[in-house]
Subunit: 403 residues, 2 copies
């Protein structure tokens, strides 16, 4: 079963909006056992849209459209589907009543054009939109199906939720992807060790994805999911403490879970990251149980005053040094009253600082049984150095929590 | 002159990578006076690639490809261009020597397949890659041109840099886009006021783009750029202190510039944002001149201990209150020794806190001549509430610096 994705909107062609819907839809299709053969963006142009729908239906069994379902004159997806699939639009009384009720509930007067969202191509099934006004559409065409979904990502995801089991049932395949998540080791080392340890059964594929200081080892199969279990176990065994999670785990989530299990907390003192490490540790809801706070000591004098880094140390070693990172970690732990402290300092760039090159980063942990500093030379520009520093710090704490 | 973008790579179809190159290339084409009529992603499949190139060249005068120029067997863009355009690959001695020299300089042995990057379709011009090994290609086809660019975004941008003036010269048009940047006002109010104040000259178009707490008013013309000046001035006049910048300005950059001019500094005490406000204020290089640091007081007791919010106030009003925000701003200013303090507290969600609904946010500024609190009800999920809080806080400080 083959699938295609058409994202609708001139703003996508002009680069005002990055087409993240296409990536999300592609991933969902693949997981539902549908081979994604094409993905395109089309402007708000009726003729081009009609042509694109027709053209993609030559090969695709499932065509997903996103966007262009709103109430305004440049929302053309409904009309294009109706024309391309010869399924004229019919106003549905129930949808019209629902739209009127929604506006009445907010005490707003409804512009007449809103009712275009109650128009449905003949034969199409309406997909409920629990978070917006534009419903989705499921239009069967013989053995094929055209599905239109709203463009705003949170609406798209809500409306599309019931699709994936239906498409998986149609494709007759469920593709299972399992992944092992690692940090502190390069992709090529991972690949070498995995390939020496693992023999792939028939119908299982293996891939690697690296980025942001994380390497993902992925196994995919359309056969029985249990076949992947021993493969994950083998990767875990051969890569040891570089492994921090599986599947949908996040590094901050794993850290919070480990802290929570131990009944412990963490605090941070950070320099080059400017608050990004604290932001990562407060990303997950409920993180206040295990995250106390952060001292963002961007100015050098604050490293002494707020985080207690000795002036003599700053003088002798500089703000960017292993010793300062260790003192920041100890200061965070002490002054914010946490079981664990993390300290980070470094040169984010673009300029050399204290004679130290861009990417020089020191990451320290201080805990109940002492501490550790890791000195790194990170690649990339300012944004990348800052973001890799966050991953390195979280991973250092994770290793100590698992030790 | 019409253009199309083809992004190459199965990872784009499967959603492992978001197609940000397409957005960037689309924006550059539009600025060079090329109308973007199509944008698609194609997997690593020679036949599909050849077909897509041929199909898009029917309409497009300029076809830009990104990705698939690397050394491995699934890098097929070179071969596909050669087949689709009937321009057989020829190994270029100068490129081969360059590749050998690059590897020798790093003391690495060169795998033989690397030399595929020295293969050039007959008649193509080589576009130098200053930051990687895969050069770009510029292949003229009568009045049309096919351009192949490497996939990694920083390589793409570097290799493509010389293209834009060439394409603008070919299109004979330079499209000028100017924009006014605003916060603290809704898109519909902006549109209403702009449309009452401005009469568009022939050949000038107007559009709005809203997101992340910022509204952009955009004027575009392919005529003389000066015609846009009075339009920008009219928007500035009619929207007053909601306007914080123009064109490529960023809100954090504007704040730093205003602080720098005044010889002043800012410090932050933040709760729900967990460090994101400090991260925004340290994003730009050189920000240490005007940004001192942040107290991320995520745990309630730290609001008292570190930022000096009175315990009685926390007890009476709660951690999420206008009074606490004001005390945080004053505490940051005082304890971090800055001219200005910003304080933010609120409910990021997903759960109600202290009986206050998700999106309840208080943003405060404290300055040399007193302070101000803004109480907001922000829309969206946890990530969006946190990010809109950052924009609101920066905008509040910006208004005080401009007052």
């Amino acid at each position: 079963m083959k699938g295609a994705v058409l994202a609708v909107g001139t703003e996508l062609l002009l680069g005002d909006v990055i087409n993240s819907n296409a990536a999300w839809l592609g991933a969902q299709l693949a997981a539902a056992g549908v081979e994604v053969v094409a993905s395109a963006a089309v402007g708000d142009d009726l003729h081009r849209l009609v042509a694109a729908i027709g053209q993609h239906l030559i090969e695709a069994d499932v065509l997903l459209l996103s966007g262009g379902l709103g109430p305004t004159v440049d929302d053309l997806t409904r009309d294009a589907v109706a024309l391309a699939c010869r399924a004229p639009l019919e106003r549905q009384a129930a949808l019209e009543a629902g739209l009127r009720a929604k506006f009445a509930a907010y005490g707003m007067t409804m512009p007449a054009e809103v009712l275009r969202q109650a128009d449905v191509p003949r034969g199409a099934e309406v997909l409920d939109n629990p978070v917006g006004t534009a419903p989705g559409l499921w239009l069967p065409l013989g053995d094929k199906v055209v599905v239109a979904l709203p463009g705003p990502p949170h609406e798209l995801r809500a409306v599309a939720a019931p699709l994936w089991p239906r498409l998986a049932a149609r494709s007759g395949t469920v593709v299972t992807t399992r992944q092992v998540l690692l940090s502190g080791v390069g992709e090529s080392t991972v690949a070498e060790r995995v390939e020496a340890a693992v023999t792939l059964p028939d119908g299982v594929s293996l891939s690697y994805l690296a980025g942001g200081g994380v390497v993902r080892v992925r196994f995919t199969t359309s056969g029985p999911p249990q076949v992947l279990e021993p493969l994950l176990a083998a990767v875990d065994a051969v890569l040891g403490d570089h492994v921090w999670g599986h599947d949908q785990d996040t590094l901050d989530g794993v850290v919070h879970d480990l802290l929570g299990t131990a009944g412990q907390t963490v605090a941070v003192a950070e320099s080059l990251t400017g608050g990004l490490l604290g932001a990562a540790l407060s990303q997950r809801s409920g993180s206040s149980v295990t995250f106390r706070g952060s001292l963002v000591v961007y100015a050098t004098d604050l490293k002494e005053e707020l985080a207690g880094v000795p002036a003599a140390l700053l003088e002798a070693q500089g703000a960017v040094s292993a010793e300062t990172a260790a003192a920041l970690a100890a200061g965070a732990r002490d002054r914010l009253g946490a079981d664990w402290g993390l300290g980070v300092t470094g040169v984010a760039g673009p300029n050399v600082q204290e004679g130290k090159p861009v990417g020089t980063v020191h990451v320290a942990v201080a805990g109940p049984a002492g501490g550790q500093v890791r000195s790194l030379q990170l690649p990339g520009d300012r944004d990348r150095v800052r973001s890799l520093t966050v991953t390195s710090a979280l991973d250092l704490l994770r290793r100590h929590l698992q030790a």
